[in-house]
Symmetry: C2
Subunit: 285 residues, 2 copies
């Protein structure tokens, strides 16, 4: 393997030894779990970790258990050397890149599940996805033992599921959400944007545009149900091949709001497919 | 509340503050989770914790989620003052006795499940029981953050489920199993023995007697299936009202052995009911 531009560990034992050494020096540790294929969004998570801790650890692990059987686990982009260079450039101190067998050794049998908040939206569109997420995040947090852990608001339902799980299981860590990094036309940065052709890329921008238009209508007092329906129609019209959902929900527990006009804060969330690429986005209302 | 003979905390925050203070002094912390109604068996766990750590914390929490709807949650014996006195006498340093709402606040939604090893034996006889156990033990371990945690071999399947779960979720703790404490006639000490009438108490002793006889037969080369059937018949004959199981299993993953003679180490496990009392026992073969 070629040399990496920052220290790299592949085992829980080596990760813990480094974190223990930092703790012994009185240093606070921040942690950024990722699936690699890093972009500016991930680097902003590293910077937020460093604003809240003395040392930053990033993990890169493409977790098989959060992909469905017909999803893109095999195709998901991987490039450790480039990820390591980007992390080093953002000031990250350690890369943790475990193997699948380090994470799920033979005989592995345990699952963490979160009820209710995992049911709608991506939980309904991707059965089993959040069980995979909550289990691997529990493991990563307990392997690293950081003071703070940073997750992107881009995966907003995931962030709220993790907050719920960390609170429920008493995992001793502070969870921070980081704002979504976007391209100039509003498209949320995502490793999956790499799948898009030029024509698909132009359609993709309409996802965020449609959410911003929907927010304007909600703020003007339009009914939630009507705004959701209009947004789905707009995405169909814009050229998406399938719209999984556009929904306005409670910003904490993601319970349903509406069907009438909003009475308080909300989050609008959407998922839609172009070609073989599934994109998600969300914004505060 | 009357004064307790050892320090008592009721919140995660107070528990962690004490454990953190001990850690800062370089002391190792041992943890003994219990459901109270303490007896000599529990005290032997505290002593094992103290043989492996500088400070011992015991928790007393009758966990509602590991009782089935027709089980004895409400009747389960409770007596905090007496428990605290016994713990102090065994050298315990801190009692952690959280409320149900401290453990499961409003909105609580997370569950830890362990597959396979939870399916037979008590997993089959008590649906949902081990989900309740694995979830509450994960929480207690993450609340306390001990160096070692001690569980009794009396609940052997529970012990092996916890070992599996701790390994799988990377909970940073060493799990120790403690030998079963027994009355002179072999009956395993249990908080539920308090339910037994004098006549039932005489029958109860036959549970361990039958296991010892079964082990002798296994060691003499008798077939597993025949020994299991004979043991069930012996318990019926002895006056038990219902025999849930007598089974010879792999001592690690509790997979099935037999039906022929044993070729290696095994564990024999049994559960049977007299009147309203369900008793369990197990021994190494």
């Amino acid at each position: 393997m070629s040399e990496t531009p920052l220290p790299l560990v592949r085992t829980v034992a080596d990760l813990r030894a480094q974190v223990r050494a930092w703790r012994a020096e009185g240093l606070r540790v921040g942690f950024v779990p990722t699936m690699g294929a890093l972009h500016e969004g991930h680097l902003s998570l590293v910077r937020l970790a460093l604003a809240n801790a003395d040392r930053a650890v990033a993990s890169v692990f493409v977790n098989p258990t959060q992909f469905g059987p017909n999803e893109d686990f095999d195709a998901y982009p991987r490039g450790e050397q480039r990820d390591a260079e980007l992390l080093a450039g953002a000031g990250c101190h350690l890369l943790y890149a475990p193997t699948v067998s380090e994470m799920y050794p033979e005989g592995y049998a345990t699952k963490v599940t979160v009820a209710r908040i995992t049911e709608p939206l991506d939980g309904s569109a991707r059965p089993g996805h959040f069980d995979g997420v909550s289990t691997v995040v529990t493991k990563l947090l307990l392997q690293c033992g950081p003071d703070v852990a940073v997750f992107g608001e881009k995966d907003f339902q995931q962030l709220q599921v993790i907050r719920r799980m960390v609170r429920d299981l008493d995992i001793p860590v502070e969870v921070l959400g980081a704002p979504t990094a976007r391209a100039d036309d509003g498209l949320a940065l995502s490793s999956r944007n790499a799948y898009l052709s030029a024509a698909e890329r132009a359609v993709a921008a309409k996802l965020n545009f449609t959410l911003r238009a929907a927010i304007a209508h909600l703020q003007a007092g339009h009914a939630v149900a009507a705004v959701e329906t209009a947004a789905v129609a707009a995405l169909d019209e814009a050229g998406f091949d399938r719209v999984d959902y556009v929904e306005v929900r409670d910003p904490e527990d993601l319970s349903r709001l509406g069907p009438g006009p909003l009475a308080g804060p909300a989050r609008i969330l959407a998922a839609a497919v172009i070609g073989r690429t599934r994109l998600i986005d969300n914004m505060a209302v």
